[in-house]
Amino acid sequence: MKILVCISHVPDTTSKINFTDGGTKFDTNGVQFIIGPYDDYALARAIELKESIAGTTVTVLNVGLADTEPTIRKALAIGADDAIRVNAEPTDSYFVASQIAANAQGYDLILMGRESIDYNGGVVHAMVGELLGMPSLSPVMKLDIEGTKVKMSREIEGGKESVEANLPLVAGCQEPIAEWKIPNMRGIMSARTKPLKVVEATSSDKTVVTQKFELPAPKGAVKMISADNVSELVNLLKTEAKVL
């Protein structure tokens, strides 16, 4: 089986978000970039499938400029066999989905995170499925393969849904689909020489254009209330905050 895992290269979850150039550019100063946490779950599940199903290969794909290569190498160190980098800035869901679709021929299973934690579009998997004419599902919390059948569990509002489909398939993943994997020394050494192919973006018109970024208005100071005067809190919630 051939598995493609699409990863995003995003600021670490503890990053402080700032913009430069009049709110048009993300400020990378002091920001550490990581494999998207949801993509990390997808990668971990792909490696588990590779370990349990003979003849399975895992390719990672990232749409990004050359600065994402350390992130791609980390995915190779975790256990992917080879990698593709589509040399373009991942500006929006449709653009990224069309680049993935253009490079996804011949894969039986395409995994990625439920969303990237930068732009939070949460739809690349659905768009890739639609572009390739494959079923897609997200957020998938459990994914097992029996022959050509895929059995999944998906989170829905206030519960979960069991879903079956046949390969080929696209899935957006989230915990607890697999445990995150940490690269070991052997993985890190071998990742250096694993193939990383760079391809140019297919010409794809931009259907949306980001004009600028904004930060939310700063929050006012917290009002502290004594633990002996809880009714005062209820009163403030009712009369001042007007939320009761």
Binding site: Y119, G158, T210, V222, M224, L233, A241
Partner: protein, 317 residues
């Protein structure tokens, strides 16, 4: 501008988030047509008129009682075409968001999700999106003639404007490919208030010291008619189910009131609650970082404060 609104039905009832979507479409101006799929009472559909829908297309196909994403996308893409709609509006959900994305591909439309307010049409068609898990916004121009917009909760208030809607039966021929994913079972916490839609959320963290102590938190939630949530460590330790986990990698909530008990306020947890209108933090550690993000705070022990707070809420009513 002709706007089509997807109305999501759960257990035969229109979901509240869909009323917000109808109200949003109404505020955009122009004609508003709503579309509902599966079994739902006519009175539920008629009530959409009060929020601004002039027409409601109803696809009364019992095969669509199950939320099959591909089939829903095929119906909506066809309806967008038949109604000559310029914009499709959907309220974010595990069903609506992927459906909207697929319709955007089928209709060659510009797509934006996590939209937080009405579009600005002064120059082009620009929407404001929430990004970096609520830590920032982006202003995005949607360039194609057709547009698909998925709303974040509270993008518009579900306000009655007092109209009436005409209900029109509608059908679309569906193929086997539309049902390529089969839903074999659904497990839902019944009778509870859905966490993503709740107006008040009461969440507990490690400070609750164990799943056996959740009763006092549930008492407060009950008194407030609130949903219950929890922090990541709590769901990781299986004290509470995963679908209650609020945070960066869990459910993002946007209630009127969020009450956090015994949660220190890691940045990943804050990412899930930063769209709340009012945040109350109860923690025995006065240095808990969550107090910096709160509107009101109480330094105190959960086991002392919670029962008193529940009593105070009950006596207010």
């Amino acid at each position: 501008m002709a706007v089509l609104v997807f109305v999501e039905v759960g257990e035969g009832k229109v979901r509240k988030s869909s009323l917000e979507a109808v109200a949003y479409a109404h505020l955009m101006g122009g004609g508003v047509t709503a579309i509902a799929l599966g079994t739902v009472a006519a009175s539920e559909l008629e009530s959409l008129g009060k929020y601004g829908a002039q027409k409601v297309l109803h696809v009364a196909d019992s095969k669509l009682d199950q939320p099959v994403i591909q089939a829903y996308a095929s119906v909506l893409a066809k309806a967008m075409q038949d109604e000559n709609a310029d914009v499709l509006v959907l309220a974010n959900s595990s069903l609506a968001t992927p459906v909207g994305a697929k319709v955007a591909i089928k209709a060659k439309a510009s797509f934006a999700s996590n939209v937080v307010e009405l579009p600005s049409t002064a120059s082009g068609f620009v929407v404001k999106r929430s990004i970096y898990t609520g830590k920032a916004f982006s202003m995005v121009e949607m360039k194609n003639q057709k547009k698909v917009i998925v709303l974040k909760k509270n993008a518009a208030e579900a306000k009655e404007v007092g109209g009436t809607a005409q209900i029109v039966p509608y059908s679309v021929a569906l193929s086997d490919a539309d049902f390529a994913t089969k839903i074999t079972a659904t497990e839902k916490a019944s009778g509870d208030i859905l966490l993503p839609e709740a107006e008040i959320v009461v969440s507990g963290g490690r400070g609750m010291k164990g799943p056996e102590h959740w009763g006092i938190l549930e008492d407060l939630a009950k008194a407030l008619h609130a949903a219950t949530g929890c922090s990541k460590p709590v769901s990781d330790m299986n004290w509470r189910p995963h679908h209650e986990h609020v945070g960066q990698t869990g459910v993002k909530v946007a209630p009127q009131l969020y009450i956090a008990i015994g949660i220190s306020g890691a940045i990943q947890h804050l990412a899930g609650v930063n769209s709340s209108k009012c945040i109350v933090v109860i923690n025995k550690d006065p240095e808990a970082p969550f107090f910096k993000a709160a509107d009101y705070g109480i330094v105190g022990d959960a086991f002392d404060v919670l029962p008193k707070l529940t009593e105070a809420v009950k006596s207010m009513k």
